[in-house]
Symmetry: C2
Subunit: 347 residues, 2 copies
């Protein structure tokens, strides 16, 4: 057994990095700010860091905010990492309110001893994902806890945005007759993360679907406007949780068709292997929408014409009874008109 | 040695409480929402929980946001707990920008096995502190990590607010000639927390100064308006860090008088015992202000007339040289006019 290379303490996160003093300032100047801003090397900050950020002006638009904790284990997984996941997760929560995300706050809780290389890699991923999504990282905070008091790093992101004109979505706005649309295949994120854990360790080509969804939402709004009643990204708890929340909050019945739900074969295999219900597996880059039936075709077409929505499908519809319940039609036989005489005539 | 009472698993935070499904919903309905809202017992949520919150309209005012991680150990300390500390910390960061805090997002990272009683107590403290500060908890998130992957609980709060008319504070706005004001005694929070840790375990009557400071800021703004150049709450890193940040960002020299800085006797004793520099000890309920000299007296009088500012004092002034440096005058002798003839006359 070979000895590990000696560890240089200057390459690790220290408690002092969170103490607010000189080490904190150096971590900001030399690593976090360059990584988040994508400017590369260390350098002095251009502007003073204030206690709070001034957010972009919203004009007459409604202002939205969403906060989320991310505790990914492992930090890196096929298709993404905790950094891109945190950006996309918060951006998508604003998008699900019919919003255009504009700014992001990033709060880091770091475990003492975390290699600075890992922090740098995650911070760069946050910066890249934020720029790709068109949101600015406007403020943040960093805390360091004792070795063993956290699992490497946790990220809490808060996204800000404005409501798109003409959109007003809510989990309470589903109506009987609505068509249920799904933007793409489910189960990718959860199974991709699980595939990397040693305890499971199955071979797979599955990559997380983590991506921002606000461009898709904008296209849907342009096509359907107020006919888009509900938007949800089925992340933790999966599609089953999102549909149940909507059924409950809207007091409607949701009926979905098992055969219509796109489940990649590798995901289905992984779920079989792990004993998981794919409907309960976390996603990170798809959304479910409830759209008034007359506009559903146009919204579906707009989704398919937008990156991230190419595989969009209709998966169900809304009934008025039994309120609060989600049912899945697993097997459906076509019931045909009788072609001729049946049993002995009784009438 | 007596056996501990048997632990009922239903009294503990479980991994499932963060999974987004039924247990998550129950935790929200039965504990978090009643505790945060102060309505007491469990009950159904009144409105659906959306992915994002709509923030209060700001009109023409600038919108401010600040995010902070809180990792207090222990969770409860004389004068407060991690819940009230998190609310005050974020509210104060908005206040330091000359802002009126209006809303709060609360993100919880919980360790599996945390007693629900402790979570309830902290959540109630968040709710009470928020109501007392006049801010609404508008959105949040809860994650549960494996036992040992976090130290009981971490809170990340994000505060939103609007800039008060006529105020425009920044760490970069200190000017030569400014008077440095301090709203009250320093060192209370840090030494109160340390006094509760077993490893130190000294007897003391010290209580944290954790409190919201936005009422104080409003009074200062009314008295001094734009003459209030800089506001900072010297939390992590203490007064030394805040003054150095201001000296650097404003490119000025800050000179403070040791004798003018209020340090409670118990705090001084604790700092001696622990070998701490009181200037570097964290505070949670005082602020330092840089005010144009002509308005400094009026601002100081307004502070003294406002709860939380009764003990406000002037502690120093701003020079133009040496830029970026903070100096403390430890001993000052009055230099008198010579009363008569000195040495042998040389001129």
């Amino acid at each position: 057994m070979e000895c590990p290379p000696p560890v240089d303490e200057t390459d690790l996160v220290l408690l002092g990095h969170g103490a607010g003093g000189r080490l904190s300032a150096e971590l900001l100047d030399d690593l976090l700010l360059p990584a988040l801003s994508g400017t590369g090397g260390p350098g002095r900050r251009a502007v003073p860091l204030e206690d709070a950020a001034v957010l972009p002006a919203t004009g007459a638009a409604e202002l939205l905010a969403s906060t989320d904790c991310f505790v990914a284990s492992p930090l890196f997984f096929p298709g993404g990492d905790i950094g891109s996941l945190a950006v996309h997760g918060s951006v998508n929560d604003v998008a699900m309110m019919g919003g255009r995300p504009t700014a992001l706050a990033v709060a880091l809780i770091l475990e003492e001893g975390l290699p600075l290389k890992i922090l740098d890699r995650v911070a760069r991923s946050v910066g890249t994902a934020a720029r790709d999504a068109g949101v600015a990282v406007v403020t943040g905070d960093t805390q360091v806890v004792n070795r063993g008091a956290a699992d490497q790093m946790f990220i809490t992101t808060t996204a800000f945005g404005t409501r798109l004109p003409g959109m007003r979505t809510s989990a309470a706005y589903a109506q009987p007759g609505d068509t249920v649309l799904l933007s793409g295949p489910i189960g990718l994120h959860g199974t991709a993360v699980l595939s990397t854990r040693e305890v499971h360790g199955f071979e797979s080509e599955i990559a997380s679907d983590t991506r921002p969804l606000h461009h898709l939402v904008r296209a849907m709004g342009a096509a359907g406007g107020a006919a888009v009643h509900v938007l949800r990204d089925p992340s933790r708890g999966g599609l089953a949780t999102s549909l149940n929340e909507i059924a409950r909050d809207s007091a409607v019945s949701v009926e979905i068709e098992e055969a219509a739900i796109p489940v990649p074969e590798a995901v289905a295999t992984a779920c079989d292997l792990l004993g998981l219900d794919v409907l309960q597996v976390a996603n990170a880059g798809c959304l479910v929408a409830f759209v008034a039936a007359p506009q559903a075709e146009a919204v579906l077409a707009a989704m398919r014409a937008t990156p991230g929505g190419e595989a969009a499908v209709a998966i169900g519809r809304v009934r008025d009874w039994p309120a609060g319940q989600v049912t899945m039609v697993a097997v459906r036989h076509v019931v045909e008109m009788p072609t001729g005489e049946q049993f002995p005539r009784i009438c």
